[in-house]
């Protein structure tokens, strides 16, 4: 990484002015109140259009409580399509005096969080023109930095379970996390906490906190999850994953969190029925840690030791996935009953 002359800190005052100007032009602020990891979070959108685009993934965390927020995010766009010329290249991370900022050229979005981790800004060129992953996991870096300040961590994993406890599903992209998590939606006994990113707290008893009730599936895998067909979000392009908003399509089937009972590594096999086997802690750490660490900006050096502690704290399993996805939920329930 290059470390050259110290650039000037982002001027949070001018960000706030930009946001307020955009809100005024867009007809006012649309406010979303959430409970994220049981803490009040307020998201202030400049105009209803930005709010409508980015709120569906948070539908299961919406609350009417009016407590003073632990985090307030300001979100606005310029209503201009993102420049295709910027569509590739490095993300730029910047930190000074505790203020953190990230520019991601793939979506051209800027994220800024104050040193106190209580106020953030998220600017995008066009609220309706983001890559699909920005709708399934909005403000992921801002939330990750904020979670760090709350003593929690964002991990790359899905999670399903019941109010009494659930499993964390870990592994790199394509390992079967989404298929496993989304396979549980027809099963009335299990609830959905995410298929890609969740927050985990390890103080005392480890617990999972849901961030997004979205899901995404590669179009080639859709036929294995026929219950999702009616829930397909509009506008999916053939080259993108199909996006689902679980709370909209399956009301009441999402859950805000649960105690962590086990960590499970899904593995695609040529079996018919799914089968859970004990997994070594080392293979579970290898499935969880690299993909989590490399999705965080900046990669957190202490995250490996923290995840090793988490892996030592709960039972670990490998879930061999078969062609019959209906056999997955009973295997997950068997893990939870152990």
């Amino acid at each position: 990484m290059s470390r050259t002359a110290t650039p000037e800190a982002p001027h949070v005052e001018s960000l706030q002015e930009d946001f307020e100007r955009a809100a005024e032009a867009a007809g006012g602020v649309a406010e979303l109140r959430l409970a994220v990891a049981a803490k009040p979070v307020r998201i202030r959108f400049a105009g209803a259009r930005a709010a409508e685009a980015l709120r569906p993934a948070f539908a299961h965390l919406e609350t009417r409580e009016d407590e003073p927020p632990a985090l307030t995010l300001h979100v606005w766009d310029s209503g201009t399509p993102r420049a295709e010329a910027n569509a590739a290249g490095a993300s730029y991370y910047y930190e000074q005096d505790g203020v953190r900022a990230l520019h991601q050229p793939a979506s051209d979005v800027f994220s800024v969080l104050t040193a106190e981790a209580d106020t953030g800004w998220f600017w995008m060129p066009d609220a309706n023109g983001l890559p699909y992953w920005d709708y399934t996991a909005p403000f992921r870096h801002l939330l990750s930095w904020w979670l760090d300040a709350q003593g929690l961590r964002q991990v790359h994993g899905g999670a399903v379970g019941t109010g009494d406890g659930g499993v964390l599903l870990v592994g790199p992209g394509g390992s079967g996390k989404s298929t496993t998590a989304l396979s549980t939606l027809p099963d009335q006994r299990l609830r959905y906490a995410g298929d890609d990113y969740v927050a985990v707290g390890s103080g005392g008893a480890p617990a999972v906190h849901s961030l997004y009730s979205s899901g995404k599936v590669h179009p080639d895998d859709l036929h294995r999850l026929p219950h999702l067909e009616p829930a397909l979000a509009d506008g999916t392009r053939p080259d993108e994953k199909a996006v689902f908003y679980v709370e909209q399509a399956f009301p009441g089937r999402s859950i805000a969190g649960f105690p962590l009972r086990a960590i499970v590594v899904p593995r695609v096999t040529d079996r018919r029925a799914a089968r859970a086997l004990p997994g070594t802690r080392a293979e579970v750490l290898a499935a969880l840690a690299p993909s989590t660490i490399f999705q965080l900006h900046p990669p957190a050096r202490d995250a490996l030791a923290w995840m090793a502690g988490l892996v030592r704290a709960v039972p670990t399993f490998v879930l061999e996935l078969g062609s019959d996805v209906e056999t997955i939920p009973p295997e997950l329930l068997r893990i939870l009953e152990r």
Binding site: S2, E8, G89, A305, V311
Partner: protein, 150 residues
């Protein structure tokens, strides 16, 4: 006196869990694992042992000739160095670390040469979305190309 080695911090992070070592190179996105005799080498290296001390540690645990063990240790250390995971620490003499297992041969395990398992599936993620600090012209402008490829 033999050369001591040290982990290439801060770019390399590692953790030992149930006797297996997971190593991650934060710069390249490559991660590695070491088991059995490989994990024993890593542990001895962490304790400050040099090549001879590491070999002595392995001899106390495994049933193999001195030459076989020394050659295996040399090969693994060279591979770890080649991969940029460790480097020779010229300023530090290796400490004499007493072997942890008994030396009477009764409890020795069959020896297989250590294997450094290398996983490169995260490199795509790094190539697709590398992270750089901002350049001299300040936030939010990206650094010029020569810095961007750093």
């Amino acid at each position: 006196m033999t050369t001591r080695f040290r982990v290439n911090s801060p770019s390399v992070i590692h953790e030992t869990i149930e006797g297996e070592v997971i190593l991650i190179d934060l710069k390249t996105g490559t991660y590695y694992s070491l088991r059995d005799s490989g994990a024993a080498v890593w542990q001895a290296l962490q304790n400050g042992a040099g090549e001879d001390g590491i070999a002595a540690e392995l001899r106390s645990r495994y049933d193999a000739s001195d030459e076989q063990i020394l050659e295996a240790v040399r090969q693994l250390l060279a591979e770890l160095e080649r991969e940029g995971l460790i480097q020779a620490d010229e300023d530090e003499a290796a400490t004499a670390v007493p072997p942890s297992a008994s030396d009477d041969g009764a409890a020795r395990l069959p020896f297989s040469a250590p294997v450094l398992e290398k996983h490169t599936d995260m490199q795509d993620l790094i190539l697709l979305d590398p992270v750089h600090e901002v350049g001299a012209e300040g936030w939010p402008h990206p650094a010029p190309p020569d810095e961007a490829t750093a």
